[in-house]
Amino acid sequence: MSARKPLFIVGEDGTEYLDRFQRFLGAEFRFLRAPSLGALVGLLGDGDAPAGLVLDLDFRRTPLADLVDESGDRLHDAGDGERRRVTAVQGLLILRALRARGVLLPALLCTDIDDPHQLAQIELELAPISVVPSSESLPRLVARLRAIASRQG
């Protein structure tokens, strides 16, 4: 029964999403955590095909060596300022790197974007993607996941 549950890969630097999803949505979905682009790519290559991705934006707790920049390259010897800049949008950079690698899995980017222009640009550049604001309710999130899972099915 569990094998048939849709799988989502959760990209985050901690376990907050994973814990929450598993706690509340574990009965319906499966979740695997990937704290960096490398880990995520690795999960994509393993066994079950995920139905979609759930990405956090800020990866401040991810080690510097696992971070990627705008070009998708690993970050080396970056100063604190640069690291801050990169971690603040790491979720986007990971997704951009995945799209650059041809991974077109539907993605849910969990962040608050107030700039409609930026939002439109992201949805255009990184589609299929939905930006999930921090205030979104769990049922609404479930609906999004179900929608993505149904497309996989």
Binding site: E16, Y17, R20, R23, F24, L57, D58, D69, E70, D77, A78, G79, D80, G81, E82, R84, R85, A88, V89, L92, L93, R96, C110, D112, D114, D115, P116, H117, Q118, Q121, I122, E125, S134, S135, E136, S137, L138, P139, R140, V142
Partner: protein, 1022 residues
């Protein structure tokens, strides 16, 4: 005395008159000459007669009488003794001898001889010679009186029964009694003998006198006291003691001492004077009579003390005798020196006296009774002698003499009375003369009444017209009425007696009451006796009457014994009489000053007779004087008395309430008392004082209460203020942001943390409970999410506390979390949800909580971010900043390269505070200026740009490029120490959530260093 002798002589002559009618004309002529006062000629004629009839006892008697009148006592005695020898039974020869010798200086020496002679003559009188016995006894009494033997004289008079006397003799007896009484009064002025005292005591007295003379009265008093004790009748010490006491102003003791002294020495004029002065100045109204008597005595003894008349005038006013006061004032005015000296006071006294006289109305007419002439008196005496004869043969002649006397003196009461006794007639002229003299009318009426009772008096005689006899009472009634009309002092008593006789009891009682109420009734005791005959005896309890009498006798213990009841053990069910006796016992206790016992008795009486008026009044009066602490047991009775309008009860209750600490109720009672009590109630002053005290205390209490209230209010206000300060002290985050833009980075961090760590990852799960699909199974998970590892509300509190610290570092105080509208409200909602989840019961609207979280709290947090500072830079602003740096560098001696300026548009808005941005720019420019100096082609450029970052965000960039060949990396800047140059740029940029950029530049510049910030997309709220 000479007049008295003459009267005796007249008796003799009068007795001779009838015989004279049978004698030769020469004898008749001698008698006429005698009556005409030509006594010498009468004596000569008597001697001629005697030559013709030697040894005529009657002639010898008349001659002796005439010689006695001429003062030739020895010759008179010789002739009278010859008459006695010749005719031993001639009683009036003895009588005349007694009267003549009574004038002789040797009478004291010869008393025993003469008294023995007369007594023998008296004893030899025959039993039937009652008239002679009466006449001789009267003469003997007069002789005894003349020799100062009043006691013996009174004894002779007492031996004369009234029944054996005719009216004239009774009148003579009464007059002699009066004379004896006057003599005794006069004797009263004689001093008592002094005691024997030693020379040493006299020396002590003399020394004490010296002390007094040296103005040392206290020392004198100490010195003289032992003498006064040792010799109570010695006047010297008493007189000194009295003066010393007076000097020391011990007036009562001085008056007492002086009173004793004048009893011992009535002739002590100075003592009388001092006593009068003391009583007049310090004795008050009650002593006014004594004062006047003392002054009179003093003046009688020393008329030169004229100033005492002034004192008497004052006393007379005090005694309510303004007429006397005026008289005394006039008396003082007769002394020119004193009148001049005391003119002011005399005038004042005169004015006062006149004013009182006017106020009292016209005084009763004071009819000056004319003294009868000597002729009238002699005619009377002749008539009396005739009437004294046993045979009464010459009554008509006596009547004529009396008529003559009355013609001469119509108001001659004695003559009128004697005529009445003889004829039963009263002459119109007499009444007319007396008609305006009330006291004289009363005297006359009294005389007539007395004579009417005499054996010889006619039964009744109508006067002035003949007819049916009129009873004396009826006769005198108009005179008494007239006396009443004239306001004669004793008239009402006289009329009352007449009314009693006529059976008019109400009228008599009315007059008696008026009489008792008159200023100075002289016959009060008789008036009481008369009342007893008029009014039925009261139905009084004999025991109470006896008790009252004992009390009057100053014997309270015996008075208590009369009543046969005890207040301590009153009868359980007694009669009205028992209650009255208990009240009487209460009165005796009051008399003794034992107020607690009095209260007990009156209360006991009220127990037997609950509404006994007298007991209630007495209880109230006693309570008004008792200690306030003793009143509690009688409160109910006092309340009853108060309700009945007994003002003393109000005063007592007021004191009781005041002592019980109930001042307001006490005040009400005091007001009630003051409203009811008589104007002269002695407790008024105390009550007023108590009222003022209570009002004062209440005022103080009210002020104190107001002060306490004020203090409490102030304290409460301060507490409230403090609470408000605690609660509302400081700014909201929004307010702080508006005041201090530099706080924004800290606020933005706090908001981001809450959004991410609290709302997104933890609190948002509340939505699971709002969805039925989750609700059943998600509760525990939601609880874990919100409560572990620490409650979300505490996370919010910790974030906010960090924000407060950051704000305080910038000089801004943020409110406490509970009163902060954004963070506080969020924390409360979270806490509420946590509480519900923790308890697992109760009502909780999860959907609403989730809705508030996402729609309200998230929105409010976002709104704070929109309050971030925005600094718009355009060409003029940048140019100004460049000039500032240029001036600075030039001033420091550094070289300057004018920078090129490249702007992306007209203006660029940075989400950074202007000061921070200015600092960033200045440091970038200084760094570029310095770097440019290393280049051959010194170039500096300033560039403002807007661009999109890798995440598609709009970013604004402030870049300053230079032409230095030296390379610069971000890592190099990151590694620099804080505090200078690009390190400042680094730190400020990071603080404001931006990041440094180092970019290569196309020539002529080599690189640029700048600060990049994510632009705000939403318009800033107004």
């Amino acid at each position: 005395m000479r007049q008295l002798a003459l009267a005796v002589a007249l008796v003799t002559v009068a007795f001779s008159l009838p015989a004279a009618a049978r004698r030769p004309k020469a004898y008749q002529r001698a008698v006429e000459l005698f009556w005409q006062g030509k006594v010498e000629e009468a004596v000569a004629l008597y001697r001629q007669q005697l030559e013709r009839t030697p040894g005529d006892a009657a002639l010898l008697t008349d001659l002796g009488l005439a010689l006695g009148k001429l003062g030739r006592t020895a010759e008179a005695e010789r002739e009278l003794r010859r008459a006695i020898a010749k005719e031993p039974g001639r009683w009036y020869a003895y009588a005349n001898l007694a009267e003549v010798l009574a004038q002789d200086e040797a009478r004291f020496v010869r008393h025993d001889e003469i008294a023995g002679l007369l007594t023998d003559a008296l004893l030899q009188l025959p039993p039937k010679a009652s008239v002679a016995r009466a006449g001789l006894t009267l003469s003997l009494a007069r002789f005894e009186r003349a020799t100062g033997r009043a006691h013996e004289a009174r004894g002779w008079l007492d031996s004369l029964p009234d029944e054996e006397l005719n009216a004239v003799q009774r009148d003579g007896k009464a007059r002699l009694y009066d004379a004896l009484a006057a003599d005794e009064r006069a004797r009263a002025l004689e001093d008592w003998p002094e005691p024997e005292v030693s020379a040493k005591d006299r020396a002590t007295l003399a020394e004490a006198e010296r002390l007094y003379a040296a103005a040392l009265p206290a020392e004198a008093l100490r010195a003289v006291d032992p003498l006064a004790r040792a010799h109570p009748t010695w006047r010297g010490p008493r007189w000194l003691r009295a003066r010393s006491l007076h000097s020391l102003r011990f007036v009562d003791e001085a008056a007492r001492e002086l009173s004793v002294l004048v009893r011992l020495a009535p002739s002590h004029g100075e003592a009388w004077r001092l006593l009068g002065e003391v009583l007049a100045s310090d004795g008050g109204l009650l002593e006014a009579d004594r004062a006047d008597e003392a002054l009179r005595q003093a003046l009688a003894l020393e008329p030169a003390w004229v100033e005492l008349w002034l004192l008497r005038a004052r006393v007379a006013l005090r005694r309510g005798r303004p007429a006397d006061a005026l008289r005394f004032v006039d008396r003082v005015r007769k002394d020119p020196v004193l009148a001049h000296e005391k003119e002011v006071e005399l005038s004042a006294l005169g004015r006062q006296a006149r004013a009182r006289l006017e106020a009292a109305g016209a005084p009763p007419a004071q009819h000056a009774r004319a003294e009868p002439s000597a002729e009238a008196r002699e005619l009377l005496r002749r008539a009396q002698e005739i009437l004294a004869r046993p045979d009464r043969a010459d009554d008509a002649q006596a009547g004529e003499l009396l008529e003559q006397a009355l013609l001469s003196a119509p108001a001659f009461l004695e003559a009128a009375g004697t005529l009445y006794s003889l004829t039963g007639e009263v002459r119109r002229a007499t009444l007319a003369a007396l008609w305006d003299d009330g006291p004289a009318l009363l005297d006359f009426a009294g005389q007539i009444e007395r004579l009417a009772k005499a054996p010889r008096a006619p039964p009744s005689v109508a006067a002035p017209s003949p007819g049916q006899p009129i009873p004396a009472a009826q006769l005198v009634r108009p005179w008494v009425e007239r006396a009443v009309e004239l306001g004669a002092p004793e008239a009402r008593f006289a009329r009352a007696r007449l009314e009693v006789q006529s059976g008019d009891r109400p009228g008599a009682l009315r007059d008696l009451v008026e009489y008792v109420a008159s200023p100075q009734p002289q016959r009060l005791a008789e008036a009481k006796e008369l009342r007893a005959a008029l009014t039925p005896p009261p139905r009084a309890d004999p025991a109470q009457v006896q008790a009252l009498l004992k009390l009057v006798e100053d014997k309270p213990t015996e008075a208590q014994g009369e009543l046969l009841v005890r207040c301590e053990r009153p009868p359980r069910a007694g009669s009205e009489q028992d209650a009255a006796r208990l009240t009487a016992l209460g009165r005796i206790a009051e008399f003794n000053g034992d107020l607690p016992a009095a209260l007990l008795c009156h209360a006991a009486a009220l127990k037997l007779q609950p509404h006994a008026g007298e007991a209630l009044v007495r209880l109230a009066k006693v309570a008004a004087r008792s200690e306030a602490q003793a009143l509690a047991p009688v409160r109910p009775q006092l309340e009853e008395a108060s309700a009945l309008g007994i003002s003393a009860a109000d005063w007592a209750l007021a004191r009781d309430l005041d002592a019980s600490g109930r001042p307001s109720e006490a005040l009400a009672k005091l007001d009630r008392f003051l409203g009811r009590a008589a104007a002269d109630d002695p407790a008024r002053k105390l009550a007023s004082s108590a009222r003022a005290r209570i009002l004062g205390a209440r005022d103080v209490e009210r002020r104190e209460s107001q002060r306490r209230l004020l203090v409490a209010s102030a304290a409460a206000a301060l507490c409230l203020l403090a609470l408000l300060l605690v609660l509302f002290h400081g700014s909201t985050v929004e307010g702080a942001l508006r005041k201090r833009a530099g706080l924004f980075p800290a606020v933005a961090r706090a908001v981001a943390e809450i959004r991410h760590d609290v709302i997104k990852h933890r609190a948002s799960v509340l939505s699971a409970l709002a969805d039925p699909a989750f609700a059943a199974e998600a509760r525990d998970d939601v609880a874990r999410s919100l409560l572990s590892p620490e409650p979300t509300s505490e996370v919010v509190a910790a974030i906010y506390e960090k924000l407060r610290l950051a704000a305080r570092a910038q000089g801004v105080t943020l409110r406490r979390l509970g009163r902060e509208p954004t963070f506080g409200a969020l924390a409360r909602d979270l806490r509420r949800a946590e509480e519900w989840l923790r308890k697992g019961r109760g009502r909780f609207d999860a959907a609403r909580a989730d809705s508030r979280l996402r729609e309200i709290h998230s929105e409010k947090l976002g709104a704070l971010l929109r309050l971030g500072p925005r600094t718009r830079l355009d060409a003029p602003a940048i140019t100004s900043w460049i000039r500032d740096v240029e001036a600075e560098l030039r001033q420091g001696g550094s070289s300057w390269t004018s920078p090129a300026l490249q702007l992306a548009g007209m203006e660029v808005e940075f989400p950074v505070e202007r000061a921070a941005l200015s600092t960033i720019f200045a440091n970038l420019l200084r760094n570029a200026q310095a770097a440019a100096q290393e280049a051959g082609d010194k170039r500096v450029v300033v560039r403002l740009a807007e661009e999109r970052d890798a995440a598609g965000r709009r970013v604004v960039t402030l870049l300053v490029g230079d032409s230095s060949p030296r390379a610069l990396t971000l890592e190099a800047i990151e590694s620099r120490e804080s505090g200078r140059g690009l390190a400042i740029v680094r730190d400020l940029t990071r603080e404001w959530h931006g990041h440094l950029v180092v970019r290569p530049e196309a020539g002529p510049w080599t690189k640029s260093v700048g600060a990049c910030f994510v632009a705000l997309q939403i318009e800033r709220p107004a």
